[in-house]
Structures are given as structure tokens and as C-alpha cells.
């Protein structure tokens, strides 16, 4: 047996581990773009320590996903036929097929993700270049950093470009998995033909993506000694996102069942009963446990702040999300409209080897990335540290990242804008009805430090924006 014939597919289950692996890896990639683009636009400072690694993870996950369609076409050397390029055999892609939409969605996603990642890397590559100890690394990082000198003009262009990429990438976070869900939703197969698929797939993708980011970040911060930059606060925030998206996924599972019952369609009802109580019930209940039940543990702060607990749960989430795709695909196919063609899919050793191999590719690429490229977005992390703050915290007011003396005082949350332009003592005097304004308070010693002019330091003032 040759080609894809070595996989465990048959006439009934014509898609199984291949498309499961494809959707799994595309989903994993979603967290990177979400952290880079959407959290950037929402000015979430905590993203800065994890965005670089998450973006890299996105690219490697898309690479791993790309292996499946490449092999699935049978003759890999004709893979370029999936693109609408002229060829002598007049075989044109079918523009009505969601599989072609996938080609456009995934290739656009990969291109934008790579460009976004690279643009963000440029200042940090220059930092590595400036610190290079060998000629080879000096020239290699010098070429990659595109002549970056850290001038004001360069930072201006850089920040504009970064903002534009964030704007372009944001709709992609939603569109890619929406299009992937169309592979199923536009068909007439019970269990697939449902309008809830696009949001359900997007929520699931972000869910699994953050699961993988936690898995990688927990390992990376330990192995690379970055515990002071990738802190528990970062990990806890990601746990909260997992909790939110996991609950969305749980809601989608419930809605699928409800709509199957409410539709009155016998085939639809059977497809879902078969999922929960049929031959693949073990896969279904594994999916529900891993994706809905276990993530509820993140309601507890002790779990959200326990590194071993979140590491285990992040792996559980990814196992669950793989099962979700397997359940959707295989349980909907293995019992079709003709009972005589019903079958039970079992993966062959080659299915398993290929899936394991994609993990090998993903992890190898990620580890090489950790060794040869800056794993933290230095410029962005520096921009959120006190030395980069043009308005450093003083003793009287709590700040977002510093617990001030009034942080726990509920009365201290009075409108600040009204008194912003006058010193505190004057405001007090006005309240007491005194005629003579009090002398302006002595300015307190500032913690502001002069910014370094090194190529890696970023002059962004996120607070102001």
C-alpha cells in the first residue's frame, strides 16, 4: 500500500487523523496572534513578556498544520495546484470549495504572522548584533536587523508598522478558524452542518492556543531562567482566558445537543446521541472532561497560581482539544446514511507516527527559536519597566503595577481629574474655605531615570496612549 493508503482511512471515514491534526495545529496557532494583535490594541501590558514566544509558536504550529494537506493531496510535488495558478493541464481550483478558502485563509494567516513576528524582532535583533562576540553572529544578526540603529525616526516607523500589522492580524484571528469550520459547516453531514461552528471553533482555538502557550512558557521560563520576566501574573492571566474560553466551548457543546433535539431532524439527533453513547463515547467524554470540567479548577486562585497545576491542566486542555476535533470528524463520518457502510475507524501506525512527528517539528523549531532569537520582546518589556516611565509612581498614589499606600483604601478612589491641575494642598485649602492658597508642595524625588540610547531600548509611552 502506498501514499495515503497507509493511513487508517476507509470509504466511510475518509477524513480522520489528518484533518484532526490540521485543525488541531491551526487552533494552537491562534493564541500567538491574539496576544500579539488583539491584546496589543487593547493595551494589555502583560502581553509583552509572552508575545514573542507565542508568535513563534503560531508560525511553527501553522508549519505543522501545513504538513497534513501537503500529504493529503497524495502527490506532494503537485501541492502548488491548490493555488489558483495557471497550469498546462487546465486544472483550476474550485472556488466554491471551502477547502480552497482554507488555502487562502491559512496562507494569509501564515504570511501576516511571519511578517508581524519579524517586524517585532528587528530592534531586538539589533541588540543581539550590538552585543555579538563573533564576526559570524555580528554579520548574521546585522543582516537580519536591517540596519536598525534605534533612531527616533526608526522607532516612529516601527511603531506605525506594528500598529498596522496588529490591525491587519486582528480580523485574521477570527477569520482563519471560521474558514476552517466552513470545511465542515458547509457540508450536509449531520453533526457538521451547523451555524454555531465558526464562533465555536474560534473560541476552541483560542482555548487550545493558550493551553499550549502555558505549557511552553512554564518550561521556557524554568529552562531559560526567565522567571522574573515571565511571572506568575502572566500565567495567571492566561489561566483566566482559558477558563473563559473553556466555558464558551462548554456552552457550544450544550447548544449543539440542544439544537440537534430542537431541530426535530432524526439524523441530527442520532448523530449527537451516537457521539455521547455510541462506540466513540470514550472520546466524547474525554473531550468533555478535559475541555469543560477540568478547566473549571481555574476558578480557584490556588490552582491559577500553582505552576505544576496549571502545567498539567494546560496539557489536559490540549488533549481535550485534540479529542474535540477527533469527535467532530470521526463520529460524524463513521455512521453515515447507509448502515451497511458503517465502520469503526482505527488509526494505523503511520497516522500516529505522522502526528507525533508534527510535535517533533513544532518542538524542534521552538527550541531552535529559543536558542537563536530573542525569546522575549526586549523593547516592549523595557517600555513597561519603571526606568521607561515618564511619570514614575510616587508615594501618594497606587499604580497599576505598584501597590501604593492607598491601594486598599476604598475612599481613595475619588475623582482625580478635578484635582489634577492643582497641588493636593490647594485642593484641601479650598475644601476648608481658606482664602490663602497654601504653598505648592515640594516635588518628591523622582524615580525617573534617563533612558538609555541603546538600540534595544524602546521609547514607547504606553501609559499616555
Amino acid at each position: 500500500m502506498n501514499g495515503v493508503g497507509v493511513w487508517g482511512l476507509d470509504n466511510t471515514v475518509f477524513w480522520a487523523w489528518d484533518i484532526t491534526g490540521f485543525v488541531f495545529w491551526i487552533g494552537i496557532g491562534h493564541a500567538g496572534t491574539l496576544i500579539s494583535a488583539i491584546l496589543f490594541l487593547f493595551r494589555q501590558k502583560w502581553r509583552t513578556a509572552i508575545n514573542r514566544a507565542a508568535e513563534a509558536m503560531t508560525i511553527f504550529a501553522v508549519m505543522a498544520a501545513g504538513i497534513y494537506p501537503a500529504f493529503h493531496v497524495g502527490r506532494v510535488w503537485f501541492l502548488y495546484w491548490v493555488f489558483p495558478v495557471p497550469n498546462q493541464m487546465s486544472i483550476w481550483p474550485n472556488f466554491k470549495s471551502p477547502l480552497l478558502w482554507d488555502v487562502f485563509a491559512v496562507s494569509t494567516y501564515a504570511t501576516v504572522s511571519i511578517l508581524f513576528w519579524y517586524v517585532g524582532l528587528v530592534p531586538d535583533l539589533a541588540t543581539v548584533r550590538d552585543r555579538a562576540k563573533t564576526k559570524l553572529s555580528y554579520y548574521a544578526y546585522g543582516i537580519l536587523s536591517l540596519g536598525w540603529r534605534g533612531s527616533h525616526r526608526q522607532w516612529l516607523h516601527y511603531e506605525k508598522a506594528y500598529m498596522i500589522f496588529a490591525g491587519i492580524a486582528t480580523p485574521l484571528v477570527l477569520s482563519v478558524h471560521t474558514v476552517v469550520s466552513f470545511d465542515f459547516a458547509t457540508s450536509v453531514i449531520p453533526g457538521w452542518h451547523t451555524t454555531i461552528f465558526p464562533p465555536y471553533f474560534v473560541a476552541g482555538a483560542i482555548f487550545s492556543g493558550f493551553g499550549m502557550v502555558i505549557t511552553l512558557m512554564v518550561l521556557a521560563r524554568k529552562i531559560l531562567g526567565l522567571e522574573h520576566i515571565i511571572t506568575k501574573r502572566h500565567l495567571e492571566n492566561m489561566c483566566k482566558i482559558i477558563l473563559a474560553t473553556g466555558s464558551m466551548v462548554g456552552y457550544a457543546y450544550a447548544m449543539e445537543f440542544f439544537i440537534a433535539w430542537y431541530s426535530g431532524n432524526l439524523y441530527e439527533r442520532y448523530a449527537f446521541l451516537n457521539r455521547a453513547f455510541g462506540p466513540y463515547k470514550w472520546a466524547y467524554w474525554s473531550m468533555v472532561s478535559c475541555n469543560v470540567l477540568f478547566p473549571q479548577l481555574f476558578w480557584f486562585k490556588k490552582v491559577r497560581t500553582s505552576i505544576p497545576a496549571m502545567f498539567v491542566l494546560s496539557i489536559v486542555v490540549n488533549i481535550g482539544m485534540w479529542f474535540e476535533r477527533f469527535v467532530i470528524i470521526v463520529t460524524s463520518l463513521h455512521r453515515d446514511y447507509i448502515p451497511s457502510s458503517w465502520s469503526y475507524f482505527r488509526p494505523s501506525i503511520w497516522d500516529i507516527a505522522l502526528f507525533l512527528g508534527t510535535f517533533g517539528l513544532f518542538l524542534t523549531m521552538f527550541l531552535l527559536f529559543c536558542k537563536f532569537l530573542p525569546v522575549i520582546a526586549l523593547g516592549e518589556v523595557k517600555a513597561i519597566t519603571p526606568p521607561a516611565d515618564p511619570h514614575p509612581p510616587h508615594d501618594d498614589h497606587g499604580r497599576e503595577d505598584e501597590a501604593g499606600p492607598h491601594a486598599a483604601d476604598p475612599d481613595h478612589d475619588e475623582p482625580r481629574a478635578a484635582k489634577e491641575d492643582e497641588p493636593p494642598d490647594v485642593a484641601k485649602a479650598d475644601d476648608e474655605g481658606e482664602d490663602e492658597p497654601q504653598p505648592k508642595a515640594e516635588p518628591k524625588p523622582s524615580a525617573k531615570k534617563k533612558k538609555k540610547k541603546g538600540s534595544g531600548s524602546k521609547s514607547k509611552k504606553e501609559d499616555e496612549s
Binding site: 504538513i67 517533533g360 518542538l363
Partner: protein, 67 residues
């Protein structure tokens, strides 16, 4: 109103833990991150890389078996 209870950043509602712990000096941050590239890989890293590459070989081996 004020409270005399000690405030632990990150544990009290309304306060958040610092995003970068310790002395967040620009030079130290550059050294910490660029140092990963500059110094020799640690044994833990090498073990991880060898394990990952071995799993990748499983896939490459399966491809050669097909033909």
C-alpha cells in the same frame, strides 16, 4: 478611611503584581535575554532538543517507509 493591613501586591483586590520582578534595569534585561543566545546551551536544553528532534525523525522515517 485607611487600613493597616499589609498590602501584598497581587493578592489584594485592586493591586497587581509587578510585570517584571526584581531590579528591572535595561542593561540587565538585555543581558538576561541576549545571554540565552550568547552562552552555550544548557544540558536541559540539549536534552529537550534531542528529544524533540528524535520525535521529528519518527515522521521523517515514516515518510521514507512509504516510498
Amino acid at each position: 478611611m485607611s487600613t493597616t493591613a499589609p498590602i501584598v501586591p497581587g493578592d489584594t483586590p485592586g493591586t497587581r503584581a509587578k510585570l517584571v520582578l526584581g531590579d528591572a534595569d535595561f542593561h540587565k534585561l538585555s543581558t538576561d535575554v541576549s545571554g540565552i543566545i550568547e552562552r552555550k546551551p544548557t544540558p536541559k536544553y540539549l536534552i529537550g532538543l534531542i528529544a524533540a528532534a528524535s520525535i521529528l525523525l519518527v515522521m521523517l522515517g515514516s515518510l521514507t517507509t512509504w516510498s
